[in-house]
Symmetry: C2
Subunit: 155 residues, 2 copies
């Protein structure tokens, strides 16, 4: 199961995939948003080997998604926290969660996300800044941007 | 590099990861949204082996994300099209694209998404249905839903 690097592709989806690394890594990011920070906590929740977890955490630190922050000096201990770049993955997780809630959650949504200030459950949507309409994939078209060096848009 | 199935996890993010399968698969879905449908087109654009592509397409068909539709009877030829479940991955791709545009697109966004009706570039955001505020991950809290059988929310 080869795993080619997407680093050279001029595609923002591929760049996101490159930074996140693999599926396990996305669940590490999920848990970081849920307040998990310590190695043993991640390992316990995810049930993966220490070796795999070490690799994935190092990948996320290398890509600037997580940072290692000391929480004890004697003995030296670190926890992992989301950086700004990492916190900006929230919409990705949210979109995945909403898809799973809709298509693969027979017992109902495992988690709900509420606006802290008013307690309402919130949803992520694509809307038009001009008319305010809520849009689906059928209401939009993809056009070339300045960075389309790989000619993704041309079919 | 073991690849455990996420099918048994009560987490909608994990369920989305399970259906999409792996990173290559997400780029197949991307290309399907860009109008690609035939095996040889996918292969040419993605540059992966026929063997890997065959596996990934079969995975997406098995999970109901793509369907095989005949486009020629003599000889029998098929193309792949997004189902409703597949088209509903648009917000996931959009969130990934927006992240990559922001953090890993030094030449500018490769692709822009416009509202077909009015031509404005559109953006996906999390907003509160009550007050209409645009929300970041710091403005929301995660609470248990009915399907939280794995106690994800409890830290």
């Amino acid at each position: 199961m080869e795993r080619k690097s997407f680093a050279g592709m001029h595609c923002s989806v591929a760049q996101c995939l490159e930074a996140v690394g693999d599926w396990w890594t996305m669940l590490i990011v999920r848990d970081a948003f849920l307040g998990i920070g310590r190695f043993d906590q991640f390992q316990q929740r995810l049930g993966i080997s220490r070796n795999v977890l070490t690799q994935r955490l190092a990948h996320l630190v290398r890509h600037g998604v997580l940072e290692r922050v000391p929480y004890s000096e004697h003995p030296p201990r670190y926890e992992y926290r989301l950086t700004d770049k990492g916190r900006d993955l929230w919409p990705v997780l949210t979109a995945m969660r909403q898809w799973g809630d809709r298509w693969a959650a027979p017992d109902g949504p495992p988690l709900l996300v509420e606006h802290t200030a008013c307690g309402r459950v919130v949803e992520q949507t694509l809307t038009c800044p001009s008319c305010g309409d809520r849009l689906g994939s059928g209401d939009v078209r993809v056009v070339r941007g300045p960075g389309d060096l790989d000619h993704l848009a041309g079919t």
